[in-house]
């Protein structure tokens, strides 16, 4: 960074700025997100019947209808994820804390939605840094949630100060075990962790179906769902209803900080990243590949398990058969979007959380099914993974190759 600033000092400041922007990889990231959002709007337009009727009526009506759909879509996305600006201003003006709480509750709900993404994204990112592909976050989330529900429902009369950490740890431990198995198999037998984590996902699904139709099932409910966990295990909420913002968000931030320190400040992190970048060199340096692989998969699984625990303890307070809805797979996109850096993951998780929450509003007010965000996420992931696409579309310059894509050999994180 310092050298490029010196070298390009001569030309006009603005053109330098433009040059830098065109070369910067952050530009690609931002354009990828914008392109993804734009594509979402286009999909909303082409799948709205009213647009076709209007186009059939007249050209002008068609244009108008298109704009209406665009406007409604993005407005719903914004108000659903942040809130209605006028309401927020009015609420602050009124001075009523209850009104402020209500007006801001979409914003806080987005933070609630982004919390499991943070945990799961950190899980995948940690694996990437050590050269491991944990596509098993989904399964680890499930077993984490199962263990948490078990601790949450079976321990009665415990104080919250002990019950919450214990339930959270149970989730982390279960996820950790689920991650450890493919990690150990990879380290000891060379079995590809991608296949094994996929297999572990489905084993986790079957296990959860078994437990939720069996021992963990609430017999009073018509559908297979667990009993509600004890109140003593609920993660404290910071505001009154309907605002669901809870302590889990801060636990996730804390985890991001811990992962950052682990990876980039400690000797253990140096060892892990070296194993990820060049396992042969790591071996020659006396590093323990088996241990690094297993520990990373345990930690990765534990983080994913905490995502499950977080949802149980902070949001749902019980567990149904199909509760996760793809956090595990989305987190792959998210980790890549955040360049496998804890800070990047937090930002990407916030983006995904806001998108998801906004999409719920879109479904309600604009009639656009929530699944559209999966489409957006897939497109954003494709653009991030193949920056050449974005560079071609927006005529950006190819940057000098500094390091490889983080998934093939992790970049330095300084």
């Amino acid at each position: 960074m310092t050298t490029s600033e010196k070298e390009t000092a001569k030309p006009g400041a603005f053109s330098v700025f433009i040059e830098e922007v065109r070369k910067n990889s952050l530009t690609v990231t931002i354009l990828a997100i914008i392109s993804g959002l734009l594509a979402g709007g286009i999909i909303a337009v082409v799948t709205t019947e009213a647009v076709y009727q209007a186009v059939g009526h007249s050209f002008f009506a068609g244009i108008q209808a298109i704009f209406v759909v665009f406007w409604n879509t993005y407005r719903a996305l914004f108000t659903g994820s942040v809130g209605v600006p006028a309401d927020i201003i009015a609420a602050i003006g009124s001075g009523s804390s209850d009104a402020v709480n209500r007006a801001l509750s979409p914003f806080f709900e987005s933070l609630v939605q982004s919390t499991p993404y943070m945990f799961a994204g950190l899980a995948v990112a940690l694996g990437f840094r050590v050269g491991l592909f944990n596509i098993g976050a989904e399964g680890q989330i499930f077993v984490g949630a199962l263990a948490t529900v078990w601790v949450g429902t079976s321990l009665k009369g415990w104080p919250a100060i002990a019950h919450i950490p214990l339930a959270l740890l149970a989730g982390a431990a279960a996820g950790g075990i689920w991650g450890m198995i493919p990690g150990w198999l990879k380290a000891k037998t060379g079995a590809h962790e991608v296949i094994n984590t996929i297999m572990m996902n489905y084993i986790a699904f079957r296990l959860s179906e078994y437990l939720l139709t069996g021992v963990l099932r609430d017999p009073n409910k018509p559908i297979p769902i667990s009993a509600q966990i004890e109140k003593s295990a609920w993660l404290p909420r910071l505001f009154d209803d309907p605002n669901r913002f809870h302590l889990g968000f801060f636990i996730a931030l804390l985890m991001a900080l811990l992962v950052y320190i682990l990876l980039f400040k400690t000797t253990w992190g140096f060892e892990l990243r070296t194993v990820g970048s060049n396992p042969n060199a790591a071996k020659y340096s006396g590093m323990n590949i088996v241990r690094s692989t297993v520990i990373t998969m345990i930690l990765s699984g534990a983080l994913a398990g905490m995502a499950g625990a977080n949802e149980v303890l902070g949001v749902n307070h019980n567990l149904g058969v199909a509760f996760s809805s793809g956090y595990g797979f989305d987190s792959i996109a998210l980790a890549l979007l955040g360049n496998s850096h804890p800070l990047g993951v937090v930002l990407a998780a916030l983006l995904f959380g806001f998108l998801r929450n906004g999409a719920i509003q879109m479904q309600l007010t604009a009639g656009i099914p929530i699944d559209i965000i999966s489409v957006l996420q897939a497109l954003i992931l494709a653009f991030i993974a193949a920056p050449a696409i974005i560079r071609t579309i927006y005529r950006l310059k190819e940057p000098k190759p500094v390091g490889e894509l983080v998934t093939t050999s992790a970049k330095e994180g300084k």
Partner: protein, 506 residues
């Protein structure tokens, strides 16, 4: 004599490198034309252009009087040009027949493969040129020498009459080399023409009809073995009169540092790679391990450095038993290791020089305190080593991937030599380096020896082993056939040992 192939003014630029600069060469019918040059001189680039793998920026290729536009290997094949690559282009899980006919398959009606007809043709070729192979054998089961024959058959199968052999002797035993040259003789007798790429002077003198020397992407000159000698060729190759012998004092061997006692080591495929090997290395001496690549040296080094463990026998370092110790323990006892593949094993290429320099001390004081990396100390350490070992780089935060091969090797040497070490295991320490770097590394190794370090040098370059070693052990098929005194031995003696021939009386 008529030219079957002419390269006229071939120029090829890569970003920052002029790999071929106006190279012109002609190949006559029925001759063996050696292309001699150091690693990185541009030989392989030139041949890849001829073979259609690269496009030249300037120049033209004329085959049998006709200008040829090769844009893919297919064009070269059609023009009768064939190439045996340095790394064999064979599919291990395919049979000999399948590998040979791949791309030019014999077909039955309906598009089915005619393996029988192809096998018959292979047998014909094999009889005509004395190239014994088994058409139904799988490549993965064949020794390297036979695999090379399959490569040659591939060319003959396509009726190539211009054969390019890229460093064909690198992986062969001296006996296999002799067989290869007999085959080459047979080929030229029957009207084929051969371009033979190498950097080994002796082979060129013995087997080539004409020699073209390339240096820095340019043709230095063309000569014949009759009018030149090895010293002259060597100076053409490197551009100045080089001293073929490094200056060093007599060794003053001290106490035994490394003692290897009857060890047996398996390779990754559970085959015996090191077979009942015993030797010792003393402080202040260099023990050279000579041998053709693939005779167990790699596995021996892996066992000595704790990357694998012997199934039999005992290894002691400074009196402690390290037979089953891990790499870290052995390193902490004072062993330094220069691995044979620096990019694969010795460095983390995306890392900065700074981080590569603490690759085996990252957890030790002063680089870490209570498991937290001390960045300031690490940077100071790096800056001083960059200066001391003359690593050419903008600064210590530069990624090692952007350094030249010589400077990358200096990073490894700096890292390994900056610790207090008692034992140095150097495996192919100068492979692929320029002469300047080779001299530098050789001097450093001798310097370590003179400081009382025990040195085990493993190299497939006979010259390197003979120059640096005080004693030489020759490995053949996993065994050490003999340990000889470097002062009294001869090239011939070691060459015979490398081929598995134990001279009478030893």
């Amino acid at each position: 004599m008529e030219s079957v192939l002419e390269l006229r003014g071939i120029t090829k630029r890569f970003p920052g490198v002029l790999a071929n600069d106006q190279i012109s060469i002609d190949l006559r019918k029925g001759e063996i034309h050696a292309l001699l040059g150091e690693n990185g001189a541009g030989k392989t680039t030139l041949m890849n252009i001829l073979y259609g793998l690269y496009k030249p920026d300037e120049g033209e290729i004329v085959v049998k009087g006709q200008k040829l536009d090769v844009s893919s290997p297919r064009d070269a094949i059609n023009a009768g040009v064939g190439m045996v690559h340095q790394h064999f282009m064979l599919v291990p899980v395919f049979t000999v027949t399948e590998n040979v006919m791949l791309g030019d398959e014999y077909l039955l009606p309906g598009g089915f493969l005619d393996r029988k007809k192809a096998a018959r043709r292979i047998m014909e070729i094999s009889e005509q040129y004395n190239l014994a192979v088994e058409p139904g054998a799988f490549i993965r089961d064949l020794p390297v020498g036979i695999q090379q024959r399959v490569e040659i058959i591939k060319l003959l199968f396509r009726n190539a009459d211009i054969l390019i052999l890229d460093e064909p002797t690198a992986v062969l035993t001296p006996r296999e080399v002799d067989e290869l040259f007999k085959i080459m003789q047979k080929l030229v007798e029957q009207g084929k023409s051969i371009i033979f790429i190498t950097h080994k002077l002796r082979e060129v003198m013995e087997f080539a009809d004409r020699i073209t020397v390339i240096r820095g992407g340019k043709v230095v000159g063309t000569t014949t073995p009759g009018v030149t000698n090895q010293v002259q060729l060597a100076s053409m190759m490197v551009g100045r009169q080089i001293e073929l012998n490094i200056k060093k004092d007599l060794a003053k061997p001290g106490e035994v540092v490394l003692e290897v006692n009857d060890i047996k080591v398996l390779n990754a495929r559970h085959q015996i790679a090191v077979d009942h090997v015993s030797f010792e290395v003393r402080a202040g001496e260099v023990l050279g391990i000579a041998g053709v690549q693939g005779n167990g040296q790699t596995e021996l080094v892996r066992a000595l450095t704790g990357l694998t463990h012997p199934v039999n026998g005992k290894i002691s370092l400074l009196g402690s038993n390290i037979t089953h110790a891990n790499a870290k323990k052995i390193k902490e006892l004072g062993t330094a290791h220069i691995p044979e593949d620096r990019q694969k094993d010795g460095l983390v290429l995306p890392y900065s020089i700074e981080d590569n320099l603490i690759l085996n001390t990252w957890y030790e004081s002063p680089y870490a305190k209570r498991h937290i990396l001390q960045r300031d100390v690490i940077l100071d350490h790096a800056n001083s080593l960059v200066e001391k070992f003359d690593i050419r780089t903008p600064n210590a935060l530069t990624a090692t991937s952007s350094l030249s091969g010589g400077n990358q090797q200096k990073v490894i040497v700096a890292r390994e030599f900056s610790r207090p070490i008692r034992m140095l295991v150097a495996s192919q320490p100068t492979r692929g380096l320029d002469v300047g770097s080779i001299e530098y590394i050789h001097q450093r190794i001798i310097e370590k020896r003179d400081q009382g370090c025990a040195v085990l040098l493993v190299s497939t370059e006979l010259d390197e082993v003979m120059q640096l070693s005080d004693r030489i052990a020759v490995m053949y098929r996993g065994q050490i056939l003999a340990v000889v005194d470097a002062k009294t031995t001869t090239r011939e003696e070691i060459g015979l040992l490398m081929a598995g021939v134990v001279p009478a009386g030893s």
